[in-house]
């Protein structure tokens, strides 16, 4: 259920189990409005599962997760309305066009006057010329960029980007930076899951490091930058 909160993302004691596999074994996170946090960690650290819980796709086994003040377990639809999510894999309906994806998102969220923003986003991500082409033939980078556009369309108060830079060219990376900056400027909380530490520290104020499904530390991006940051990151993963 919704509740009075000033936190964009609030995760406490999160545990997610798939059969006998524990994907997340204890994650606590707090992202304030206007803050961008990076989620770093090795493969299988639980980053994407945590993101999927926050996006309302995977129900938590234990613990609580609030986005925009809504409990993702009990108020799933309300939580989905305030979240913009870029999934880590694919995320596109193969035989629909980008414009049809945007129309579906706009219709289900009852957006008004969204077309000009959609067109601007497509242009910013260099997808304007393929807006009416089916996505099955898209390259990996194009799919990633469109997923970020879809996440940002409705100006969500919680922006979840899972591996948004993976396989994306510099133009796409820059456009994603702009989307994150815009979201922060309007007071949205942003969570970026990525393997690319250098990019993460450029755009996020804080970094949470996950290992084996558990949060190891949350530290300022400044401490994770450069060579010293790389050494600190390796130490946290060891």
């Amino acid at each position: 259920m919704g509740r009075e909160t000033h936190t964009a993302i609030e995760v406490s004691g999160l545990r997610v189990q798939f059969g006998t596999v524990e994907a997340v074994t204890g994650v606590d996170l707090n992202v304030e409005p206007g803050q961008a946090m990076a989620l770093l960690g090795r493969n299988g650290a639980g980053k994407s599962t945590t993101m999927r819980v926050l996006a309302g796709v995977v129900p938590p086994t234990e613990g609580t997760a609030f986005v925009g003040g809504y409990d993702v377990r009990d108020a799933t639809l309300e939580a989905k309305r305030v979240v913009g999510y870029c999934p880590d894999v694919g995320g596109l309906v193969p035989r629909a066009t980008p414009w049809e994806h945007l129309q579906l998102s706009a219709r289900l969220r009852n957006l008004e006057g969204w077309e000009s923003r959609a067109k601007a986003l497509l242009e910013r991500f260099d997808l304007g010329l393929v807006a009416h082409r089916v996505t099955a033939g898209f390259s990996h980078g194009m799919s990633r960029r469109l997923s970020v556009v879809l996440a940002a369309l409705h100006e969500p108060s919680v922006l979840l980007l899972d591996e948004p830079f993976d396989g994306v060219d510099p133009v796409g990376v820059e456009a994603t930076f702009e989307v994150i900056e815009d979201a922060r400027a309007r007071g949205a909380g942003v969570l970026v899951s990525t393997h690319l530490r250098d990019l993460a520290v450029q755009v996020c104020g804080e970094v949470a490091v996950l290992r084996g499904g558990t949060r190891m530390a949350t530290i300022s991006s400044g401490f994770m930058a450069g060579e010293d940051g790389a050494r600190a990151y390796r130490a946290l993963l060891a």
């Binding site: 129900p59 289900l108 089916v134």
Partner: protein, 497 residues
């Protein structure tokens, strides 16, 4: 190692991989054992069944047509499947050095995992046993098995040839035209006394050898068939290699096609329906399969001037075939996009209702097309027959949709329906689904046909209402299960993997 030797070894490796990655190996062993037992029983039991001479004569007369039907099914399945089944789907296979010859041999190995092929082969083995009797059974079945082998290999070779043409310049148009001409010729010949020509030649010679039972004739015909099969395997391998040098044209065209923006519909439901319909009609295997299943039985009915009493069975045939195109794994329509769609703010039940509605539309459309074609030469139906056809269509669509919803949630698969060779589930699972659907829908059709024959419209309506209520109840139960976030998350995890 020679190319062929390497291809055979690769097929062995791929089969091992498929076996090692089975989700339910015990169920597969049981299914294969059941197929084996049914094959042995159908090939032997009729030989010892006491029947009158007329029945045996009737089976002997039907033998050439039954032999021809195996060829027709083998060719049609392989051509419609764009070269037949794959031992490993295209995307995971792309990183391995799998040659076109391996692909060809793999498709041959998987060809029997097709309900149409299985049923027709069992029927043929049964006819052979009935005609030959216990004393000449062995030789006759050797001949029949040789025929089935040659027919299957022929189907595969033809499919690669068609695929090679289809992938060439103006290939899609050429193949469509050729298929239309073949269907028109078959329909024209089939509607006249010249239909005997269709089963003349090799089929008649083989049927005569089965009936005659002379050891020398049987040996000679069997050796000829096996020799033909061997030659066709080589020809098929050559054609597969040729086809592999060309890019699948219609798939490439679909993936680069643009669709002009349409106005935003008035509701989320309408927008979801639009996307789901696009996912069906923009997919090569789904569009091709639906049209084939809609037109092929209808043209058979048209050519044979089948009466309404037979047409009542057709909606079941078409619905059970069409639901196999994507209905048994409904969520695979979204592919990896299911993960994104699952984050949209819409009630799960609404998503399920839209998906079920789109499936029902496809089934109804295909069924109506078939009936419309069949109606051209079927004459005026009696009120009972007209009612039976309508009710049979509605009931089998309900049965197929409710089965699809249940199976899609219970056994989802990550499938990319881009390729014409793609199926929504592994081959053996498809056979299981197909047999269960065929059983339910055929019984339904037979039931309505029987009631129509005795002009009992009242019971017909009562039974239809009961069967529709059962399907509706199953759909409601499926919707309730789909509302469970844990079940849904499990399906999303598999489909979007």
């Amino acid at each position: 190692m020679s190319d062929v030797g390497r291809a055979v070894a690769d097929v062995r490796h791929l089969l091992w991989f498929r076996a090692a990655t089975l989700r339910r190996p015990r169920a597969v062993v049981v299914a294969l054992a059941v197929f084996g037992v049914v094959t042995v029983l159908s090939a032997t039991v009729p030989a010892w069944v006491t029947v009158d001479v007329d029945t045996i004569s009737g089976a002997a007369r039907a033998l050439p047509a039954a032999l021809g039907a195996v060829v027709a099914i083998s060719v049609a399945s392989a051509v419609a499947g764009g070269g037949g089944r794959e031992l490993l789907a295209r995307d995971p296979a792309s990183i391995h050095p799998i040659s076109p010859v391996t692909d060809h041999l793999g498709a041959l190995v998987l060809a029997p995992l097709n309900t149409g092929w299985l049923l027709q082969t069992w029927l043929l083995l049964g006819f052979t046993a009935l005609v030959a009797g216990p004393s000449r059974l062995f030789g006759a079945q050797v001949l029949t098995v040789s025929w089935v082998l040659a027919a299957t290999v022929l189907g595969q070779a033809v499919a690669w040839g068609v695929e090679w043409v289809r992938r060439g310049p103006r290939g899609v148009r050429v193949v469509r035209l050729a298929i239309a001409v073949v269907i028109a010729v078959l329909a024209a010949v089939g509607s006249t006394d010249a239909r005997q020509v269709l089963v003349a030649g090799p089929a008649r010679v083989t049927a005569a050898a089965i009936e005659d039972g002379n050891v020398t004739t049987v040996a000679l015909v069997a050796l000829t068939l096996l020799l033909a099969a061997t030659v066709l395997v080589v020809v098929g391998a050559q054609l597969a290699t040729l086809a592999a040098t060309r890019t699948p044209r219609d798939e490439g065209r679909q993936e680069s096609r643009t669709h002009a923006a349409r106005p935003l519909p008035g509701s989320g439901l309408a927008m979801m329906s639009r996307i789901d319909r696009a996912s069906v009609w923009r997919s090569v295997p789904l569009r091709r399969g639906t049209l084939l299943l809609a037109f092929a039985p209808g043209l058979v009915a048209l050519a044979g001037a089948l009466p309404w009493s037979t047409l009542i069975l057709f909606p079941g045939l078409v619905a059970s075939g069409c639901v196999l195109l994507f209905g048994v794994n409904l969520w695979c329509l979204d592919g990896r996009g299911l993960l994104w769609r699952e984050t949209l703010p819409v009630a799960p039940r609404t998503v399920l209702v839209v998906r079920a509605r789109v499936l029902a539309e496809v089934l109804l459309l295909a069924g109506l097309l078939t009936i419309a074609l069949g109606a051209v030469r079927a004459g005026m139906p009696t009120p009972a027959e007209a009612l039976a056809v309508v009710l049979a269509l509605l009931v089998v669509v309900g049965q197929a949709v409710s089965a699809g919803l249940r199976w899609s949630a219970k056994s989802p698969y990550a499938v990319d329906l881009r390729s014409a060779r793609a199926t929504p589930a592994p081959p053996l699972a498809m056979v299981g689904y197909s047999l269960r659907l065929a059983l339910a829908t055929t019984f339904t059709g037979l039931f309505f046909a029987t009631l129509a024959a005795v002009d009992r419209t009242g019971p017909m309506v009562v039974v239809a209402v009961v069967l529709l209520a059962v399907s509706a109840w199953r759909m409601v139960r499926a919707a309730r299960r789909w509302s469970d976030p844990e079940r849904r998350a499990a399906v999303v995890a598999v489909v979007a993997a």
